[in-house]
């Protein structure tokens, strides 16, 4: 059996979530990697355990329409096609599944055998064990559930592929990225998140950043904080945002709605700071502090 993993590069570096997907794919047998866009082929060829890298420099923006068409052309050589549960993977792989009339398996957290997988449903309030009868199994992998392969150690060959014919119906216009020197949310060892309780965007920055700086932490947010404009959308943690499982997650001024818990309750250690002793976040917290975050956060920054 051979698996194909759609991997993603950022500034020439393979994303950690893609390296987790490769680790998952290696359970099935040989692994090839598919890389879209101009950069990253060198880095991809060094990943351990890859047989060959298929590189499609022309698909710069990884639009789903040509990417899924390309994958559909490659599918017959593979038993499994995987990607990270990233916005790119979630955009492309179900479209591929539509072309192949297969049922995609989203956000796999465990692999039991070649056809049997575990995935969360109902915002992680239940875990379903599912079995696929598709000849090519298409799945996205929850990165926090699989330790990533290393960045180095392999020497795969690189094969350059052309983009498939394009009907011109889907066009990239722009990508607006917020710049940050902080670690990426999904790979950070420590995450500090703020919710509606931070009250405004300037508090969000002035209260969370000093702590994040001291701990080398990424900053996350609840949906209410993002909706209120305290933080950009890519910082949202939860069922419909990013799923994180850092060593330490510090939740401040957020209540712990099930949709938020879905994105962080597998963190190793959870700290909650909330003024309301009844807040549901305390049910998942290892260490809770009941009190006013406007006093506690500056004190915490000082104590660290």
């Amino acid at each position: 059996m051979t698996a194909l993993v759609l991997i993603e590069a950022e500034n020439g570096v393979i994303r950690q979530a893609s390296r987790s997907a490769i680790a998952a794919a290696s359970r099935f047998g040989d692994v090839d990697a598919l890389l879209l866009g101009e950069t990253g082929a060198e880095a991809a060829s060094k990943l351990p355990g890859i047989r060959k890298v298929l590189h499609v420099p022309a698909l710069k923006h990884a639009l789903a329409e040509p990417a899924a068409a390309l994958l559909a052309g490659l599918a017959s050589s593979y038993s499994h096609i995987l990607s990270a549960t990233s916005s790119t993977g979630k955009n492309i792989l179900p479209r591929l599944a539509g072309l192949l009339d297969a049922q995609p398996i989203s956000d796999v957290v465990a692999i039991q055998d070649d056809a049997t997988f575990v995935r969360p449903i109902y915002a992680g309030n239940a875990l379903a064990t599912v079995q696929s009868s598709d000849s090519v199994k298409i799945m996205t992998i929850r990165s926090s559930s699989f330790d990533p392969v290393n960045e180095d150690g392999g020497s795969a060959s690189i094969e350059v592929l052309d983009a498939p014919a394009d009907d011109g119906k889907s066009n990239f216009v722009k990508l607006e990225q917020s710049q940050s020197d902080r670690p990426e949310l999904e790979v950070a060892r420590v995450v500090i998140s703020g919710g509606k309780g931070l009250k405004d965007a300037s508090n969000f920055h002035t209260l969370l950043e000093p702590i994040a700086d001291k701990l080398g932490a990424a900053i996350g947010a609840s949906r209410a904080a993002v909706d209120s404009g305290f933080a950009p959308n890519e910082m949202q943690v939860g069922q419909t945002g990013k799923v994180v499982a850092p060593e330490l997650y510090i939740a401040t001024g957020l209540s712990g709605a099930i949709q938020h818990l879905a994105g962080m309750k597998d963190s190793r250690v959870i700290v909650a700071i909330n003024i309301d002793p009844e807040a549901p976040i305390f049910k998942v917290a290892d260490y809770g502090m009941v009190g006013d975050l406007f006093e506690l956060l500056p004190a915490l920054a000082k104590a660290l």
Binding site: N91, G98, P104, D167, L215, E234, D286
Partner: protein, 249 residues
């Protein structure tokens, strides 16, 4: 232009789901059911397009059991002009749903399909992309802004690194993310009016689609519980515990 809005009946988002004792799924008996929140957002977007004069008709369609009529009535109370129920009592997966939706699309010929990015029960995030693939239409997933001009739709998408904008030639499929809009509530007079709007029922097995799932649910279990934590009184105590007990800093 017609806009088609697929809607799903799911356990209300405010309810904490409970795994059924026999491990076959999640309890739905006697549990409050509602329209999938993302579908409400997708419907709201379609209604706004109609109100701006960019769409003439908004059609809500649900694939599901007889009781899914209630979410179609809700959709019409919010403002959909009419509704279609593709009825099946079977458990169906996105692969099947997208096939059935394709059959509805071929009959109705909408210029746009506005749907939720994921259903909050199975959390698959797949049906929109699969439907777009089957139709050969472009897709704008995880949409936070939608603008139609000259036969094209511009879609701002929430992606891992920020916001990406794509321009799609209509007809197209868009899947709504949380921040696309804030859906309206149905007013009492509109709820009354919705009772008189047309609701057509089509038997799913009359559409020539095989309803057998390719992904079989073998069992459903509770996730492991976290063990109870402790309340600390001071930040010094917290830092101390994080250093010596949890050893994370």
């Amino acid at each position: 232009m017609k806009v088609l809005v697929p809607v799903k009946r799911v356990v209300d988002y405010n309810i904490k789901p409970r795994v059924a004792a026999d491990g076959s799924g999640v309890e739905t008996q006697g549990v409050k059911m509602s329209m999938n929140p993302f579908d409400e957002i997708a419907l709201e977007e379609a209604l706004r397009l109609r109100e701006k004069g960019q769409a003439d008709e908004v059609i809500a369609v649900s694939i599901g059991p007889q009781v899914a009529q209630d979410v179609l009535r809700t959709a019409m109370a919010m403002g959909a002009d009419r509704a279609i129920l593709v009825q099946t009592e079977a458990e169906i997966e996105p692969r099947v749903v997208s096939s059935l939706l394709k059959a509805v699309v071929e009959k109705e010929q909408p210029g746009l399909i506005s749907m939720g990015k994921q259903a909050i029960d199975d959390d698959m995030n797949a049906t929109g992309q699969m439907l777009a693939a089957r139709l050969g239409w472009p897709q704008g997933t995880f949409a936070s802004k939608v603008e139609i001009t000259d036969g094209k739709v511009s879609v701002a998408r929430e992606v891992d690194g920020g916001t990406e904008t794509v321009a799609l030639t209509l007809p197209a499929v868009i899947t709504a993310d949380l921040r696309l809009n804030e859906p309206r509530y149905a007013s009492l007079p509109n709820i009354m009016k919705a009772r008189k709007k047309p609701l057509e029922t089509i038997a799913a097995d009359s559409l020539g689609v095989d309803l057998t799932p390719h992904l079989k649910i073998i069992s459903v279990a509770e996730p492991p519980e976290r063990k109870a934590g402790v309340i600390v009184e001071t930040v010094e105590e917290l830092v101390e515990k994080l250093k010596t007990e949890a050893k994370v800093i």
